[in-house]
């Protein structure tokens, strides 16, 4: 080996080769053989006498020498390192210099005896400061004959002072003396002199690194230094704490920061806001939940606190945003819508440029309302949050429905979460934690979630299946109940995440004001906001109510699109979309409310929100009662929400910041709270969307949600990327999509994602971009990817769900944990959030376009046809169909449709129809599956936004959850599997297994639909079965 190496390293060098007979050949060493044959190129026989050089005729092209003939070969002046590849790496250089640097053999220095210690020590001992100048002059003169012209008076440079005794001179002299004394007495002078004269070395004084010192300095030095979001939050927290509730603030802040960077600012600000608010509003944790209410009802109360902290505006805005997120759920129904529009208009721009938006919002809020100002601030941040918040509100209103729709566990949890936010708002409005909180607070999130999940799941299933009317009614009732519960839950969440709730509350109020003022603008912005709102929703979900929010968001999205269809049913009251109303009784029920609210929300929505914000307390209460109405509003909002989605994305970033915290904290209010507030404000606009979504979710909620979500996701072209990133890019985009589509998005939407969203939102998430993306996805049919994504989504959901789980249900938590294990919570969350935003926007847009999400979506998204077709089909079709349609209408629907289309030969539109036709039950299940798909699709969309993907995943979890509600255990496994797309499929299938057993038929139909095309479809089928079972 070494022989080969050394011979190779001398290739190309001249050598002299002696053979046995003594003849020497000289040539260029060309190569060698396995038997050590040596090849010389241009070799010549070297004669005895030193000739100048070989004649051309003497040179042989090449000669091969056998090893047995060679005696000695000499290579002269060889650089063995010539061919080393790493000639300039540190290791190579050091190896050369350390090992082979023979020119410089280091030797110990020996000064010799005579020099010895004497001279050296004498130098050291010589303290004289060098030569005396005169010595130098003399030396030069003696040695070199140089005569110095040095004059100590420096007459060449200056003029000697002429002293006299004139009064003038004395005056001046006295003056000079006085000045000298002043100067020498100054601290600055002394400090400088001390620097020069102290005995410390330069090193000590200027260059030594003294840790302790620095640390002590850093605090003061912060002003001009860049402070990471997390630290800022801390600071904000500290401030907030100082001002008000430091702990909460801190927590929320911390959470937020951790989750998102970009959003951080918001989150931070939100945290600060929280803190500020916290002082007044925060006091009662419940308040946070109630805060949202406060915004609506007693928004004044919440606002006051905010107002109390005027300086905080910037910080507050963030906190508010966080609150908004929470609020979204709470406000969801009423406030969200109104807020959404306003926010849309006002915040929309803000969201566009988060920072700018923030400030503007803050200003607006401040200008409009004392408390609102803060809300405004929040809005910017919360724009997304707000969006999310609104949904929550809706969800709260229709929360029950939503939860039911969403599907048991997750939905419930989501609902609860959303409710929480709302409740917070309400409570806050009511100042109440008592008033609003009571509702929310009465039923802890978990309880609510649990109840809801079962009921909702069942309801949802029922609704989805067809019982829709009854189911819807039941849902509505449930939703209503749920809403209370949700509210209660919200309160709890709020408690857990007071900040969130508060933020939400604030957000909504602010939103209301903003909306009123800038309704027109909001309309335009609404698109953007929708996106953001969706994000916000997701964010909210991510937080305490991450799941809920996600659900809401999803719901909102779905609601937006599907609102009319499925959600409306649930929300019956919400049934914003005519299709849904016509299609399913539930939808019908919802439609009226939705329409009413929807109009209000859209046109009046802003106003309503405004009032709501003003009357937050009342509104909150009303909202709770009017959960249906809220849903309706939400539905109306949904349209807006679609627009908002982009913004929501932005908001999501905030959530993203908090997302991770939320998950960990999950339900803990801080993280959740933070995200929500941001969302609330910014999301105000979004909220409307959210609300719409929520309404939708309530009725057909889960399925629709998923569907709508899926659509949005689809809409989001970027989603695929996100999916990949988040999901490891197994399925690539699709993977992401699923995740985004699934509940995860909601969960994911939480803080961490929000951050991502923020970043993304501006670029990709803008409503336009989102919409475009959405179409692409739809058109592209990320289905397969979506499917995968769905699986992933499932996993993400779990991640996101953790919080939800913790808050709502242990089982969920487990699932979520599993999910987490599969997918990074933060990632999932972020993905989800992004996803949701993307999807949401579309869905929102759709809703906005028409009362129903469907309308907007079709128009908005290229795939619109499919969606429309689906929507149409869904609407016309029975409730189940509607649900599906709704889903299709919603972001999810497109995806589903796409999925279906992809899966099934039939066109997207056809798919919807088939789905609906195939079986309502199956459709519901299909819808669920669709949800997953949609989620996946969304994820695909989300790609751009991780959050979306996560949201999708969240949604999936929701679906799973729904399934779980029925078959939680089964679902859980699926969740676990979900991480990978296939797993997701498996999950879906597994859950289905349980569900299927209960509803084989439904399961089968779905499978065909989904199975035809992609795995995801397969998963969907399975999902559908689950749904059916659940239902």
């Amino acid at each position: 080996m070494r022989m080969v190496h050394v011979l190779t390293s001398v290739v190309g060098t001249k050598c002299e080769l002696k053979v046995r007979n003594g003849v020497v050949y000289e040539g260029v060493f060309k190569t060698y053989g396995p038997e050590c044959e040596l090849v010389l190129d241009a070799a010549h026989r070297k004669g005895p006498e030193p000739v100048v050089g070989p004649r051309h005729e003497d040179i042989v092209e090449s000669i091969i020498f056998k090893a047995s003939d060679v005696v000695v070969v000499q290579f002269k002046d060889i650089d063995l390192n010539y061919a080393k590849k790493d000639n300039f790496t540190d290791s190579a250089v050091s190896a050369r210099l350390n090992g082979e640097h023979k020119e410089k053999d280091l030797k110990p220095w020996d000064g010799g005896e005579q020099h010895g210690s004497d001279s050296l020590e004498s130098l050291d001992a010589d303290m004289s400061n060098g030569w005396d100048p005169n010595d130098m002059f003399r030396f030069n003169e003696e040695t070199y004959g140089v005569k110095s012209t040095y004059d100590s008076s420096l007459s060449s440079y200056t003029v000697p002072l002429e002293r006299d005794n004139s009064e003038e001179f004395l005056k001046r002299e006295a003056r000079a003396t006085q000045l000298a004394e002043e100067i020498e007495a100054s601290a600055t002078y002394k400090a400088r002199v001390a620097l020069e004269n102290d005995l410390r070395s330069e090193e000590e004084k200027f260059t030594a690194v003294v840790r302790a010192e620095r640390e002590s300095h850093t605090p003061s030095g912060r002003e001009n230094k860049y402070v990471p979001p997390g630290q800022r939050n801390k600071e904000g927290l500290s401030w907030g704490a100082g001002r008000q509730n430091s702990p909460r603030m801190v927590q929320s802040n911390n959470n937020v920061p951790s989750t998102r960077p970009g959003p951080h600012d918001y989150s931070l600000s939100s945290a600060a806001d929280r803190v500020l608010n916290g002082g007044a509003t925060w006091p009662s944790p419940c308040p946070s939940p109630s805060r949202p209410p406060s915004r609506y009802q007693s928004g004044s109360t919440s606002l006051p606190p905010r107002a109390t902290t005027p300086t905080r505006p910037s910080s507050r805005p963030p906190s508010r945003p966080t609150r908004p997120p929470s609020h979204p759920s709470v406000h969801g129904s009423s406030a969200p819508v109104s807020t959404m529009p306003k926010r849309m208009s006002t915040e929309g721009p803000l969201r566009m440029s988060p920072k700018t938006q923030r400030t503007p919002r803050a200003h607006r809020l401040s200008s409009s309302r004392g408390g609102i100002p803060s809300g405004v601030d929040f809005i910017p941040h919360s724009a997304p949050v707000d969006a999310s918040i609104p949904p929550p509100a809706h969800s709260s209103m229709s929360g029950g429905t939503w939860s039911s729709v969403v599907s048991g566990g997750e939905q419930h949890s989501d609902l609860s979460l959303t409710h929480r936010p709302r409740s917070p708002k309400q409570t806050t409005l009511g100042s109440s934690p008592a008033g609003s909180c009571p509702q929310v607070g009465t039923t802890p999130i978990d309880p609510v979630a649990v109840p809801v999940s079962p009921t909702t799941a069942s309801l949802a299933s029922n609704q989805a299946i067809t019982p829709s009317t009854e189911a819807k009614e039941s849902r509505v009732q449930e939703t209503r109940q749920m809403s209370p519960v949700a509210n209660k839950e919200i309160v709890k969440p709020v408690d857990t995440s007071p900040s969130i709730g508060r933020p939400v509350n604030k957000g909504p109020p602010a939103m209301g004001l903003d909306h009123r003022k800038q309704i027109d603008n909001l309309k335009e912005f609404s698109v953007v906001f929708r996106v953001s709102t969706s994000v916000a929703y997701t964010c909210l979900i991510v937080h305490s109510s991450l799941v809920f929010t996600s659900n809401f968001i999803w719901l909102g999205e779905t609601l937006d699109t599907n609102n009319t269809a499925s959600y409306r049913p649930p929300g019956s009251s919400s049934s914003p979309s005519s299709p849904s109303s016509s299609a399913s009784p539930a939808s019908v029920l919802c439609p009226a409310p939705e329409y009413k609210r929807g109009p209000e929300v859209t046109s009046q929505g802003v106003q309503t929100t405004g009032p709501g914000s003003k009357l937050d307390g009342q509104e909150d209460k009303e909202e709770k009662k009017d959960s249906v109405q809220e849903q309706v509003r939400k539905s109306t909002l949904n349209p807006n929400a679609k627009e908002f989605n982009p913004r929501t994305f932005c908001t999501q970033p905030k959530p993203a910041t908090t997302p991770t915290p939320p998950r960990p904290q999950g339900q803990p209010s801080p993280s959740v709270v933070v995200p929500q507030p941001p969302t609330v404000y910014s999301q105000t606009v979004c909220f409307p969307q959210m609300y719409p979504l929520t309404p939708v979710s309530p009725g057909v909620q889960v399925p629709h949600m998923t569907v709508s979500q899926t659509k949005p996701y689809r809409a989001v072209p970027s989603m695929p990327q996100q999916r990949q990133d988040q999901h490891h890019s197994q399925g690539t985009p699709t993977m992401m999509h699923p995740a985004s589509a699934t509940g995860p998005s909601i969960v994911a939407s939480s803080p961490a994602y929000s951050a991502q969203y923020f970043t993304c939102s501006p670029q990709q998430f803008t409503s336009q971009t989102l919409v475009q993306q959405m179409p692409h996805y739809q058109s592209q049919h990320v289905f397969s990817s979506v499917m995968q994504g769905s699986a992933r989504m499932m996993a993400p959901p779990t991640h996101g769900q953790p919080s939800l789980v913790s808050s709502s249900t242990t089982q969920y938590a487990e699932q979520t944990h599993a999910m987490y294990g599969k997918c990074p919570p933060a990632l999932s969350v972020s993905k989800l959030l992004p996803m949701s935003p993307g999807p949401i926007p579309q869905s929102y847009s759709h809703p906005s376009a028409t009362l129903h999400a469907q309308h907007p979506q079709p128009s908005a998204t290229p795939t619109g046809q499919q969606q429309q077709g689906q929507h149409a089909g869904s609407h016309p079709a029975p409730s189940p169909v509607q649900h599906q349609a709704a889903q299709a209408l919603h972001l999810g629907t497109p995806s589903q449709q796409q999925m279906y289309s992809a899966l099934t030969p039939t066109p997207p539109s056809m798919n919807p129809g088939p789905n609906t036709q195939s079986t309502q039950a199956s459709f519901p299940s299909a819808q669920q599956a669709v949800y997953i798909h949609t989620q996946q699709v969304q994820h695909g969309y989300n790609p751009s936004h991780m959050a979306h993907v996560q949201q999708v995943s969240c949604r999936l979890p929701h679906v799973l959850f729904t399934a779980k509600a029925h078959l939680q255990s089964g679902v859980v496994p699926s969740h676990h599997t979900t991480p990978s797309h296939p797993p997701m499929m498996l999950m879906a299938t597994q859950p289905p297994g349980g569900p299927q057993h209960s509803l084989p038929q439904s399961a089968l139909p779905p499978i065909p639909v989904s199975s035809t095309a992609h795995f995801s479809y397969m998963a969907h089928p399975s999902v559908q079965p689950h749904h059916q079972q659940q239902l």
């Binding site: 241009a42 050089g53 051309h56 090893a67 005696v71 070969v73 000499q74 063995l80 010539y82 061919a83």
Partner: protein, 196 residues
């Protein structure tokens, strides 16, 4: 130490001394040993005394006697560095071309001065070749015997002036070298005279 018989293993890094069948004494550090072909590679100090370079000697132990291990090295040899084969191949090609070019010139009857000049120019400008007895630099400047500055012809320009500088410097260096050698010789004579 007993002379290791053929086939005995040499540890890398040990110093070995041996006597070839042609009566040449070789000594160096073992770099590699191929048992199959009985080829031993030694690394010796450069015969030209350049510190960064070394001579590598490939010895066929079949024709060697009196192998003696001066000192053994037990340390593990350093790892082998990867080699840039393309770089080696390029070097081989260039060396071959240079040699052939030189051989061409020699066969053409170029004077030693001419060959020296060619080598000097070649150090600076790779693009130079023999054309009969003329040195063609960059296809632009032709230096014909007796290769003095005034023999540089070509298109007026930087190339020509540059080549002239090189030629001028070459002969100046040759002159100074000669004078230096002369002075050194004288110096040695003086020293010897003084010492004697």
């Amino acid at each position: 130490m007993a002379a290791p018989g053929p086939g005995e293993y040499f540890s890398v890094g040990s110093h070995v001394s041996c006597l070839t069948c042609l009566g040449q004494r070789l000594q160096g550090e073992v770099v590699a040993f191929d048992y199959q072909s009985k080829m031993l590679t030694l690394k010796c100090a450069s015969s030209s005394g350049k510190p960064n370079l070394c001579d590598v000697i490939l010895i066929n132990l079949a024709y060697v006697s009196d192998v003696e291990i001066i000192n053994d090295r037990t340390e593990t040899p350093p790892p082998l560095a990867s080699l840039n084969v393309s770089k080696l191949a390029t070097r081989a090609r260039m060396e071959k071309e240079d040699k052939l070019s030189q051989a061409y010139a020699i066969s053409a009857g170029v004077s030693v001065e001419g060959q020296q000049l060619f080598q000097t120019i070649h150090k600076t400008i790779k693009d130079c070749k023999w054309q009969e007895k003329n040195i063609v630099v960059m296809d632009d400047v032709i230096i014909s015997p007796p290769y003095q500055v005034e023999n540089c012809k070509g298109k007026e320009g930087s190339a020509l002036s540059h080549v002239r500088k090189i030629v001028e410097k070459h002969f100046r260096d040759v002159e100074s070298q000669k004078s230096l050698q002369r002075s050194q010789a004288q110096q040695t004579q003086k020293d010897s005279a003084l010492s004697s």
